[in-house]
Amino acid sequence: MWPPYADTVRQAIAGDSRALTELLTLGHPRIVAFFLGLGLDLHSADDLAAETAEAIVKGISRLREPQAFEAWFWSIARNRLRNFYRRRRSARPTDAMISPATPEELSIEREEHRRILAALAQLSPRDRELLWLREVEGLDYEEIGGRLGSAIGTVRVAIHRARRRLEEIYQRDEAERPHL
């Protein structure tokens, strides 16, 4: 069940190991999918998901409102991702890009999944992140912007633009595809 029940979150905040394990078990595939969808390789996505789980365990006792869990959960994942990008950049001044997991590595067979993955790769990391949280995870504007202090209007505009850019890429790719 996702988002998790408020009772489960409350128990996890209170330190109940079983509730916390349940939350993380439910959240883990979502975090891995988020990292893969945003262009990480399989190994980095797994490592970062494990790091995110540890950060959630470490910080959950400070979460005051169980209702805010989902937004908080994603803010932890986003912070980990940003740290990851920064670490990569400082390790390689040439800004060498991470090789995203290929459709073959991900065992993707459906054509539309390959296409959307290729289209996502052409967006900026920020656009990918916003679209994923909005379209895949169904977060509302306030949840996406709230934790980082972004105004709802700013988030709405940014998502609108990201959607438009994805549509444009899709249409362009469609036009360039050979018709069978």
Binding site: T21, A53, G59, G149, R163, R164, Y170
Partner: protein
């Protein structure tokens, strides 16, 4: 009508495919693997709980002792007196908590300014968010004149987020989180500088009168339709950003 339906379908398709991809990627993670990662993370928690208790006990004792001392230090101390450092510490704490309440407003302002291309002014607000950490302030202050390309704006927005985490961490009293947050601000500041240098630093489009001391800035080039002195409040639309997306 048929045309409209085709257009609507084609417009929705990328998002349907995106949702479907999300589901597919989630399902490819085995339940056992998730349970293993969750259990491992929970197992590692225990020593930290012990540390947290030690921190609470020590913190409470120090706080109680400080309260007693502060009660005796109600009269302002002068340099050289025994209670002078305590008096200064009390002032520092008062200032810190008084300004902390305004952090969400400052964060929203900084983001609005960055979004509107006023990166120098956004950076000034960031230094305010950071409170009185002089090292970090210097780091951010040195970024004035980084320009306002879309890439720089995005990096400045990340910097705003990192700065607000510093305040959150400082308030929570979690030393590890604070150290992480400070590192993040430093890295975010480096990112701004790197991005600015990669995309040729051009001038700032902010008002030169607000440029940090010792910095040079290009002449004012305020976005059309924006009052240079109005800050970022209440402007969702009508931003003349000059970005690739009108």
């Amino acid at each position: 009508m048929g045309y409209l339906r085709v257009v609507v379908m084609s417009r929705n398709r990328p998002f349907e495919d995106l949702r479907s991809l999300g589901e597919f990627l989630r399902n490819r993670v085995a339940d056992d693997e998730s349970r293993r990662v969750a259990a491992a993370a929970v197992r590692r928690r225990r020593p930290q709980r012990t540390r947290a208790w030690v921190a609470i006990v020590v913190g409470t004792t120090v706080f109680a002792m400080a309260n007693v001392a502060l009660a005796q230090a109600s009269d302002p101390a002068i340099p050289g007196q025994l209670l002078y450092p305590l008096d200064r510490a009390y002032e520092w704490l008062s200032d810190r908590f008084a300004s902390h309440n305004r952090v969400p407003e400052r964060v929203a302002e900084a983001l609005e300014l960055a979004e509107g291309g006023h990166t120098d002014r956004a950076l000034l607000v960031v230094t305010e968010i950071l409170g009185d950490d002089e090292t970090l302030q210097a780091e951010v202050g040195g970024l004035a004149g980084s320009g306002s390309s879309p890439a720089v704006r995005d990096e400045v927005k990340d910097l705003v987020g990192a700065a607000s985490s510093v305040r959150e961490a400082a308030q929570s009293g979690d030393a590890d989180a604070l150290a992480d947050a400070i590192d993040n601000v430093k890295e975010a500041a480096q990112d701004v500088a790197e991005t600015a240098s990669q995309g040729h630093a051009g001038g700032s489009d902010d008002n030169p009168s607000v440029t940090a001391p010792g910095q040079t800035s290009s002449p004012a080039d305020t976005a059309p339709g924006r009052d240079p002195g109005s800050g970022g409040s209440g402007s969702q639309g009508g931003r003349g950003q000059g970005s690739s997306n009108p």
